[in-house]
Amino acid sequence: MEMSVAGSSVQPYMRLREAVSRRDRSLREKVVSLEHAASLVADGATVGIGGSTMSRTPMAMIWQLIRARKKMLSCSRSIVSTDGDLLFGSGIADHIVTSWFAQGILWGLSKVMRHHVEGGLARFEEWSHMAIGMRFRAGGMGVPFLPIRSMLGSDVLRMRPEAKQIECPFTGEKLLLVPALNPDVALIHVQRCDAYGNAQMDGLQFMDIDLALAANRVILTTEQIVSNDRIRRTPDQTKIPFFCVDAVVEVPYGSAPHECYGLYEPMMKHMEAYVAQVNKDPVGGMRAYLDRHFYGPASWAEYLSLIGMEELLEASRRGRSIYHD
């Protein structure tokens, strides 16, 4: 508990301001490789992960962090899917802050999560979904907390001394103050952005806008890098401003085998094979999966070809159908 209190402790305002002022927020090109981007994530860092469940997961970045053998990361995400399995199973993270953690509703419990949490190898810090959202939002607003009306009276709150119950100074009502969450680094995958990091997201936004504003460093992966003119033609589709972004990596199918809105749906054959393999043997099955799909491939393209052309085509057909009627 003490560690997790530390992990969620609110950063003093001037420390946050100094961290921002140290970043180069000028309008500059910041396109880098996955390898370089991974070097921006220090061992022991707190890492905010964009997307939710199987959607717009920054899988390529996670893939690279695992290949780079990072250590003791503390990760936060609205809802965690197989990305959580991989973070624990690879040993790069020993702490995940989220509201829900399994592979997906279809598959019941994650044996990988259970193995690590029940065995005391790693911690699953649970907050309500809205609380996670308000913690990122407070972080993005530059305030130390936001008030909410959920979690009260529950054991979810009893396990979270980091949150504070108060009596409202205006109404006398009971309220919960949830602490700001300002991760050291955020990993966010988007449909498109320019070389400066002006990012446009289509469809579901999840908590990515608040997360990008909250983090002390943002690594964007994008399906495609587009021109700044393309961005300026539709400024109200821009959801993350360039000056919050520290690195941009172009990674087609960067969420595979998860989905990216309007481009591809989850690659379900691969997901089902994965789930069967790791839930049958959370240790050996996971090791084999990581060896084959994470450590083995020479490149992201090779990783994708292991998922298979047929799956990519089918997922793309489904993904694009969202716009086709």
């Binding site: 419990l109 529950s154 806008i209």
Partner: protein, 256 residues
């Protein structure tokens, strides 16, 4: 349950829950049975029913055979009226715009508290469950319908862990904890339909499902149920209800 229309327990849950919804309601639904039931209601009786998903969707229309694998997938947005952030759609509950929260449950107690976090000591759990997701927020802020399988190990006197609050310790404890709004409205199982009495806030039987006896319900429940003197028997699922339901889930992903 060998009625005119044979059906699975999941189908029974979906049909009976769908009947609890009214046209024009704003319903915050989870995937699985809740989404199926809400969509069933939409197709049969409630064209003006609005479904919200925690992924950030208002007014979704699920297409037959294209059920989303989670409430955070793009399929949830197909033909939706509005897409917004996850925190923002949850805040609509807090502001009071949602009529009904509708979810499944793993473990429930006599006061309607739900556990989806852990079995055993939370500090050192025997089984670590997936957690609340939006469940805690929804049940803290809205009137709830819960659809779940009826087993003794799932219907316990007190849940190991209160993930999603019902009436907490009964009486006025929910409001005193800072949750003056919302609360458990209905619990639907393959055996019966339940509500909660107005005073003690304990679970009580409203209606038995066709062919189910009081004893059968009691044998499968880990606490003493409240029985009204007026307990009805639910109407069995109709051919139309089942046909529509099966059309929505042709691969039987959720209806078993």
């Amino acid at each position: 349950m060998t009625e005119a229309q044979p059906c699975t327990a999941a189908e029974m849950l979906a049909v009976l829950s769908a009947r609890e919804l009214r046209d024009g309601q704003v319903v915050f639904a989870g995937v699985g049975i809740p989404l199926l039931a809400a969509t069933l209601a939409q197709r049969l009786r409630c064209p003006g029913l609005t479904i919200l998903f925690e992924g950030g969707v208002i007014g979704a229309f699920v297409e037959p055979g294209k059920l989303p694998p989670s409430t955070n997938d793009q399929r949830c947005t197909k033909r939706a009226n509005m897409v917004l952030g996850s925190a923002d759609v949850l805040l609509l509950l807090q502001r009071g715009y949602v009529d009904v929260g509708f979810m499944g449950g793993a473990q429930i107690d006599q006061y309607g508290n739900l556990n989806s976090s852990c079995i055993g000591d939370p500090a050192n759990p025997k089984i670590r469950l997936p957690g609340t997701g939006g469940g805690n927020d929804i049940s803290s802020l809205a009137n709830m319908i819960v659809a779940m399988k009826h087993e003794k190990r799932r219907f316990v006197e007190n849940v190991d862990f209160i993930t999603s609050p019902g009436f907490l310790r009964g009486g006025t404890t929910r409001a005193e904890a800072g949750l003056p709004a919302g609360g458990m409205y209905r619990v639907i199982t393959e055996l019966a339909v339940f509500s909660f009495d107005d005073e003690a806030r304990r679970m009580k039987i409203l209606a038995l499902n066709p062919g189910v006896t009081r004893e059968e319900v009691e044998d499968n429940t880990g606490f003493a149920l409240v029985f009204d003197d007026t307990i009805t028997v639910t109407e069995p699922p109709t051919a139309q209800e089942l046909a529509t339901l099966r059309m929505l889930d042709p691969e039987r992903l959720f209806i078993g």
